[in-house]
């Protein structure tokens, strides 16, 4: 008996990415730089989040030519983003053979109520979360991997830190609860009861949880690893920096050796300016990508 698209195969794929860095790229050249630097996967996009933010309008799945160009350029896995709830964009990406789909709030949601039923697909999905309720809902829908939402394209780590701490703290609370308290907790945070029981039993999420949304320096990547991330996504940070090759390598090494502070100090030398970044207080409510989905 041979089975494809099983939960084990989909979650397992994300397990293999642990301790690694997944980089946003917009063409073959960037994809090769990412692979050379030691990225464990690349995310093929039409524009990196900071450019999506600057361009405004509706952000959609990248054109297939870009995704294919990236898939043909590298041998590491290729991920691609589809709009939240856009069944057809997701099916098209699956048919193209991308290795992972990010059902992403970075793009303009196609459905402002429902997410995809991800368990129906052979291809695995990664989704964003800000808290345990959101994480458990996505797992309930079939997400095989999670990431913090953070605030994409800002170069500001504060939201990713908030989301990672929130999820970890709620897991600790859940683990310490008696079982008769779990149903009410499930109601309060809007989480599927059975998923919470599973998390309580294991003491951790049943899928890997990466950090994403605002990582701009090697120290940011190491910080997120220290807060319990299984790996990191770096979006605008790398190819918006002065020296992408050096920057990409430094992020990879800082992620592996996230408690070696002397090394991280060395890695941070000569990188030039990191992206300028945006202070959260200056973002209007409608510019907050993390609030586009629940």
């Amino acid at each position: 008996m041979t089975n494809t698209g099983t939960e084990r195969v989909k979650r397992g794929m994300a397990e293999m990415q642990k301790g690694g860095v997944i980089m946003d790229v917009v063409n073959a050249e960037q994809a090769k730089i990412a692979e050379q630097a030691g990225a464990v996967a690349v995310m093929a996009l039409e524009r990196v989040p900071s450019d999506i933010r600057a361009a405004g309008g509706v952000a959609r799945m990248a054109s297939p030519e870009i995704t294919e160009e990236v898939m043909n350029a590298v041998s590491i896995p290729v991920m691609a983003k589809g709009r939240i709830g856009h069944i057809v964009e997701a099916r098209v990406l699956e048919a193209m053979g991308v290795d992972y789909i990010d059902e992403s709030e970075v793009l303009t949601p196609a459905d402002d109520v429902f997410h995809l039923k991800k368990s129906d697909y052979t291809v695995p999905f990664v989704c964003g979360c800000r808290n345990l309720g959101e994480a458990a809902r996505r797992i309930g829908e079939g997400a095989s991997m999670l990431r913090t939402k953070g605030e994409p394209g800002t170069g500001n780590i504060v939201e990713a830190v908030r989301h990672m701490r929130q999820v970890q703290s709620e897991i600790r609370m859940l683990t310490a609860m008696s079982e008769d308290e779990v149903m009410t907790f499930a109601k309060e945070i809007g989480a599927p009861y059975n998923i919470l029981l599973e998390i309580k039993e294991e003491g951790r999420l049943p899928v890997v949880n990466f950090a994403a949304g605002g990582i701009a320096t090697p120290a940011d990547a190491a910080l997120m690893m220290q807060l319990g991330a299984d790996g990191v996504f770096v979006g605008s940070g790398i190819f918006k920096s002065n020296n992408p090759e050096k920057f990409a390598k430094a992020i990879v090494e800082a992620t592996t050796h996230y408690t070696d502070y002397k090394l991280i100090g060395e890695l941070s030398k000569g990188l030039g300016n990191a992206m300028k970044g945006i202070e959260m207080g200056t973002l209007e409510a409608h510019d907050r990508m993390q609030d586009r989905s629940e």
Binding site: M1, N3, T6, V9, M13, E15, Q17, K18, D99
Partner: protein
């Protein structure tokens, strides 16, 4: 007690640590080459082989792992680990550690949508072993000194050459510990041999 290390540069480290502990051996995450001196066997876990190779070079692990193997200490590579152990990789001019005399193909079953689970018969380990293949490689050609332990659709997916062991699939992703127990026995044996 035997101590088995898992190369912890990237990939499915936690799962291997859990499975080593299930055999009763001591498990250690290996992040620095000096740590190799204190272990009896080494696992090269699944992950991205290109990423792991870059980190092996960055942290000067290359010669240290080869020397570890040449001492006669057992090494077990899963998936990316199998690619690292081969002395020839299809379509690539150079190989990585070259510990085993075999030619391998990367992502040989296709992209992630083609990743699968199947029950295999594995020599020395048992029948009906649930094997999880994720963007897996397979062995295209193996030297006469290499014993093929399992095949899937006539492709070699597990092999042994002396004290080296490799699988294209991921025994660490299931609760079936028979494969890791076999490796733990190899470690036990080699420790006795090296001590005498």
């Amino acid at each position: 007690m035997n101590t088995i290390g898992v190369l912890a540069l990237q990939g499915a480290v936690r799962e291997h640590i859990r499975s080593i502990e299930a055999t009763g051996a001591k498990a250690v995450e290996i992040k620095r080459k000096e740590q190799l001196e204190a272990i009896d066997g080494l696992i090269l876990p699944g992950g991205e082989s290109t990423t792991m190779r870059r980190l092996i070079n960055s942290y000067d692990f290359f010669d240290a792992i080869q020397a570890f193997g040449k001492q006669g200490k057992p090494v077990f590579g899963t998936c990316a680990g199998l690619i690292l152990m081969a002395n020839e990789i299809e379509g690539q001019g150079d190989s990585h550690l070259g510990l085993m005399n075999m030619k391998v193909a990367r992502n040989a079953f296709g992209r992630q949508v083609a990743s699968f689970e199947a029950d295999l018969k594995v020599t020395h380990v048992g029948d009906d072993f649930n094997a999880v293949f994720i963007r897996a490689p397979y062995i295209l050609e193996a030297g006469t000194e290499v014993e093929v332990l399992a095949t899937y659709q006539e492709r070699a997916v597990a092999a042994k050459q002396g004290h080296y062991l490799c699988t294209a699939f991921h025994p660490e992703l299931t609760d079936d510990n028979r494969f890791i127990e076999y490796f733990a026995q190899m470690v036990e044996q080699s420790k006795k041999t090296l001590a005498s």
